[in-house]
């Protein structure tokens, strides 16, 4: 027990409190301040009435004197914002589940069926993860147009898996690898089919991995921008990131209040989801890099 605590604490006990304040807490709080300030500024701006927003001499810009919901009200009732949110949810959920289904099958095949050449397929999946959307969006745009999917949800639901499947498969391969082979062998001897093994043994054991991959895939599709910007043209079909930047900016007059409110409302769902699954999120982020 004592040895265990000593191992956990390492040599931290050697540092005195004043020393820790200077070497740890001071730089850490600067980091946290800088990393969080844009969000604070976003929030403050979205609740400021226009008078305070553009008058720094009479009001301290860092605080709200008379909080107002006018920007959020305008967003929800005078723009297509609600339909952007609905689109984003629909597209993110659909593409996440589609990718999870494909990735579970692929990861199981590569990791457990070990068909001839599975190692090379695994390597190809990893390489596919390294292909950036920035070099794919032009040819994809011509394809989307030819398939008649331009300006529809399908254009995004079917193209998002191109970056979700490689990531999810790679992550799930790691999880499947950690499940003991013996469990499957027992089931095989008892007469279970491969499909039964996958559904009744491997998948339940890989649930943490499935949640990690799902959460990460959901936030990735929520954040996606370049495909949504290129493949969608009509306002009511847009996703939140694209809608905010293309529809809320009118000419040279920037309505910063509603822009910030749009950014805030678009971030809140992801942040809430993230706060519930921080551990899963972190494990998928680090898992993808460590393997």
């Amino acid at each position: 027990m004592a040895a265990k605590t000593a191992q956990l604490e390492g040599m931290d006990y050697l540092a005195s409190t004043p020393r820790r304040v200077v070497t740890l807490w001071l730089p850490l709080s600067i980091f946290i301040f800088v990393l969080l300030f844009p969000f604070y500024w976003m929030t403050v701006t979205s609740f400021k009435p226009d008078i305070e927003l553009y008058d720094y001499s009479h009001y301290n810009p860092l605080w709200v004197v008379h909080p107002t919901l006018q920007h959020i009200h305008k967003l929800l009732f005078e723009t297509d914002y609600p339909s952007w949110i609905l689109n984003t949810i629909l597209i993110s959920v659909a593409s996440t589940f589609l990718s999870l289904f494909c990735s579970v099958c692929a990861a199981y095949a590569i990791e457990r069926l070990r068909f001839t050449g599975s190692a090379y397929v695994g390597m190809c999946i990893f390489l596919a993860y390294l292909v950036p959307p920035s070099i794919l969006f032009i040819p994809l745009a011509t394809m989307v147009f030819q398939f008649g999917m331009f300006d529809s949800d399908w254009a995004l639901i079917l193209t998002y898996p191109t970056f979700l499947i490689p990531f999810c498969t790679w992550l799930l391969m790691g999880y499947f690898r950690s499940i003991p082979y013996e469990l499957e062998e027992c089931a095989l001897i008892d007469g279970a089919s491969r499909l039964q093994i996958l559904i009744k043994i491997t998948l339940p054991l890989a649930i943490p991995g499935l949640i990690s991959a799902g959460i990460f895939a959901f936030t990735l599709s929520w954040n996606e921008f370049i495909y949504a910007l290129t493949f969608i043209s009509s306002s009511e079909n847009k996703t939140v990131p694209v809608g905010v930047i293309t529809e809320l900016v009118e000419g040279d007059v920037y309505h910063w209040g509603s822009l910030m409110a749009g950014a805030l409302l678009g971030s809140v769902p992801v942040v809430i989801l993230y706060s519930f699954f921080v551990e899963h999120y972190v494990s998928s982020l680090t898992g993808a890099v460590k393997e």
């Binding site: 850490l28 794919l136 040819p139 929520w222 990131p241 930047i245 942040v271």
Partner: protein, 316 residues
């Protein structure tokens, strides 16, 4: 498969046997399981990759006209000062942002690796910039950099450090540093959290042994932390370089490539030429020009992984 089921109820034994063979064969079953993922990736990733290489050799317009022109796009791009400027901008953006992200990210990871209260919560907060949609936080930066109402200028004027508000996005070099700063802000959490995961695998006994031998904190960092961490650093930095090099969202939101194309990256220029300007072929050629750089980054990652295998005694 099920020997038992076969013997108990067998309406068509031969058919059943054939089907059993299908499910028994690893290769065939592997093919069936791979089918959904493979068909999506081949159709929407491999094929467009090839199509993009082809488009780069044509002068296709967005209305469908145009045809093969060989290396025509690249020849005209080689004389295009905006394209050359975008290569310079992309390299500057990638190199400066990646180095600073690495330095600050590693420093933050080392800080977070200390024993402290609320560690899990602090880690969760640190990762926020990475979680929030980039476009939306980029809009916040756009507002922070506003010429008239910039909060940074306001604070600096208040403190008496400057007399006039800084024109962040109006001057070429100001704009370059401004978007690099925004990229660093967004990238630090990714580097810090992934490196932290690597740091946590280093056994404390190594540091204790080194301390007993009289190593200074700097020596402990240089001779233990860095060598053990180097394989993860290679992978993390490859990803970081890859994402920075192909960045599109931050620039598109904050500056749209301006002022005077000073912040145009290759990705934003290719979007502008292909989608806004309708010159699909030329845009694709610009996008293809990124591929050699990306290959260098991937090879770098590959050798990083090789080294990791060696350190783990050649496992898998």
């Amino acid at each position: 498969m099920a020997v038992q089921t076969q013997s108990t109820r067998t309406p068509a034994p031969i058919l059943k046997l054939a089907r059993a063979n299908v499910w028994e064969s690893r290769n065939l079953l592997g093919l069936v399981f791979m089918l959904p993922a493979a068909s999506l990736l081949l159709l929407f990733l491999t094929y467009p990759l090839g199509l993009g290489l082809w488009l780069g050799l044509t002068d296709q317009k967005i209305d469908g006209s145009g045809g093969f022109i060989g290396l025509g796009n690249f020849i005209s791009l080689a004389k295009d000062s905006v394209f050359l400027l975008s290569i310079f901008n992309t390299l500057l953006y990638t190199v400066v942002a990646s180095i600073i992200k690495f330095g600050l990210g590693l420093y933050l990871a080392l800080l977070l690796n200390n024993r402290m209260p609320f560690k899990a919560m602090i880690r969760a907060i640190v990762l926020l910039p990475f979680v929030v949609p980039t476009v939306l936080s980029a809009i916040a930066f756009w507002w922070i950099y506003d010429a008239q109402f910039s909060i940074i200028s306001w604070v600096l004027v208040k403190w008496g450090l400057i007399d006039r508000y800084i024109d962040f996005l109006g001057q070429p070099w100001n704009a370059r540093w401004a978007v690099i700063a925004a990229n660093i802000w967004r990238g630090i959490p990714f580097v810090a959290i992934t490196l932290l995961a690597g740091l946590q695998t280093i056994p404390p006994s190594l540091y204790e042994a080194a301390t007993l031998d009289g190593a200074t904190p700097w020596q402990r960092f240089w001779y233990i932390t860095l060598p053990v961490l180097s394989p993860i650093i290679a992978v993390v930095m490859t990803f970081s370089v890859l994402f920075t090099f192909t960045d599109f969202q931050l620039i598109y939101v904050i500056t749209r490539g301006g002022p005077l194309n000073a912040t145009h990256l290759m990705a934003t220029l290719s979007f502008q030429r292909a989608i806004t300007g309708g010159q699909l072929g030329e845009g694709a050629a610009i996008a293809n020009a990124m591929i050699p750089f990306l290959l260098v980054a991937i090879l770098f990652s590959y050798f990083g992984l090789q080294r990791r295998k060696w350190q783990h005694g050649g496992r898998d």
